[in-house]
């Protein structure tokens, strides 16, 4: 495959790493003063009181059984059902979801699957709903791409990081291809113009010659 044609993109794992910086609410079962870390200050933590931390810290604490992770608001099944219905209703618009919703959902399911039950949430239902939303959105993206017929601008409002990453390679190289067509067309036009010009010149020369005669 050719290199350099397309801007290098992040891998999915790197995106997941970025998503781990998203903040999330935890309920610690320990008390301690605030943590002074390189990129910020988290805490203070008091047992059974909610605290907001980035996901990487939450998953570390969860692994040591020091906290429970509270699923974010948008992950509640009622909210997800509403989003899904809205996605299905409007074929050309995407609903506003957290930028890293696929990654955060996956992180939640791997790191804190047991915690859903404690907040009266059915993990299987939520998993299914998020998969559905992802598929519906992706289907709409493909439909949108089918309308691409030239090197044109495409509206990508409310696209999420993972969706962009998934489509980036294909979309950019296909737009490249379309761009090549448009430049070929232009140069073809120029050629034709030049030809007609040359013909005109030939005729006018003929005319001059005739006049001289």
């Amino acid at each position: 495959m050719r290199e350099g044609g397309v801007a290098s993109s992040l891998t999915n794992e790197e995106l997941q790493y970025c998503a781990e910086n998203e903040t999330i609410t935890i309920i610690p079962n320990f008390s301690t003063a605030s943590l002074h870390l390189v990129n910020g200050e988290y805490g203070p933590f008091r047992a059974q009181n909610e605290a907001t931390v980035p996901f990487w810290l939450a998953s570390l604490l969860r692994k040591r059984n020091l906290c429970r992770v509270k699923p974010p608001e948008w992950m509640k099944s009622e909210a997800l059902i509403a989003v899904l219905a809205e996605e299905k209703r409007s074929p050309n618009e995407w609903q506003e979801l957290p930028h890293h919703y696929i990654e955060v959902a996956k992180l939640m399911f791997t790191a804190a699957e047991e915690d859903f039950a404690e907040f009266d949430m059915d993990v299987h239902e939520i998993r299914r709903l998020i998969d559905d939303i992802r598929l519906v959105r992706f289907d709409k993206i493909e439909k949108q791409f089918k309308q691409v017929t030239s090197a044109m601008t495409i509206r990508l409002t409310n696209f999420c990081a993972m969706e962009l990453n998934l489509m980036r390679n294909f979309l950019l190289s296909s737009l490249d291809e379309y761009y090549k067509f448009s430049t070929a067309e232009e140069s073809g036009d120029v050629q034709q113009q030049r030809q007609t010009q040359e013909m005109d010149e030939d005729e006018s020369q003929d005319f001059q010659v005739r006049q001289l005669r």
Partner: protein, 205 residues
């Protein structure tokens, strides 16, 4: 547009197209046309020449180029009818690349609607490619890649690679991310003996 050392570009220019000479060519009859009997090539002889040579000579008005076989009327009609099923790989691997180059060629018959035709073909095949590359069974995929031209194949491979990477990620279980940079595991050797970091010797007071 294309880069000088782009191999695809060079290969695309290597494809032949039929040409008719306006002038006679001295001493190159055998070299240009193996079926030529005499040493010289007479005026009006039909020769298949690679694009790069035809382009060069037609600029000097030494020959008149014609459309290659795969852009003749018959195939064009086929492509307008059922674009997705036509085997472009069999006709010409660099269908679009060469087609675009032909658009810039001077005094070529039927080149007026060529660019529009190419764009139409690409667009109608593009939509089919989009769905096949992302959601499809492996068998259908394999059959499908056989009919794609080189440019389409590259797009297809890219799309498939990213969707495969996504599937791999979403079904993977761990949270750890392996680094892209491999640590250099070669051991240092020092006077034939393995060099090891040792704990500092305890100095007795």
């Amino acid at each position: 547009m294309a880069k000088y050392y782009d191999v695809d570009d060079i290969l695309a220019e290597e494809e032949t197209l039929p040409t008719v000479f306006n002038t006679s060519v001295y001493g190159l009859g055998r070299a240009l046309d193996p079926s030529c009997d005499s040493k010289d090539l007479p005026v009006g002889s039909n020769v298949n020449l690679p694009f790069w040579l035809a382009d060069f000579l037609s600029r000097r008005k030494m020959l008149k180029p014609h459309l290659p076989k795969f852009l003749k009327k018959k195939l064009r009609d086929e492509l307008q009818g059922e674009a997705e099923c036509v085997d472009l790989r069999d006709r010409c691997k660099f269908f679009y690349e060469l087609g675009r180059k032909l658009c810039t060629l001077q005094n070529l018959d039927g080149s007026e609607d060529l660019s529009a035709f190419l764009l139409n073909t690409f667009t109608s095949r593009f939509t089919g490619m989009l769905t096949t590359s992302h959601i499809c069974s492996n068998e259908k995929r394999q059959n499908y890649t056989k009919v794609l031209s080189n440019e389409e194949l590259e797009l297809f491979v890219r799309a498939q690679a990213s969707s495969k990477a996504f599937e791999k990620w979403i079904y993977s279980k761990g949270l750890k991310i392996s680094s892209r940079i491999k640590r250099n595991k070669r051991k240092r050797e020092w006077e034939g003996q393995e060099f090891r970091f040792r704990t500092r010797p305890v100095v007795s007071a």
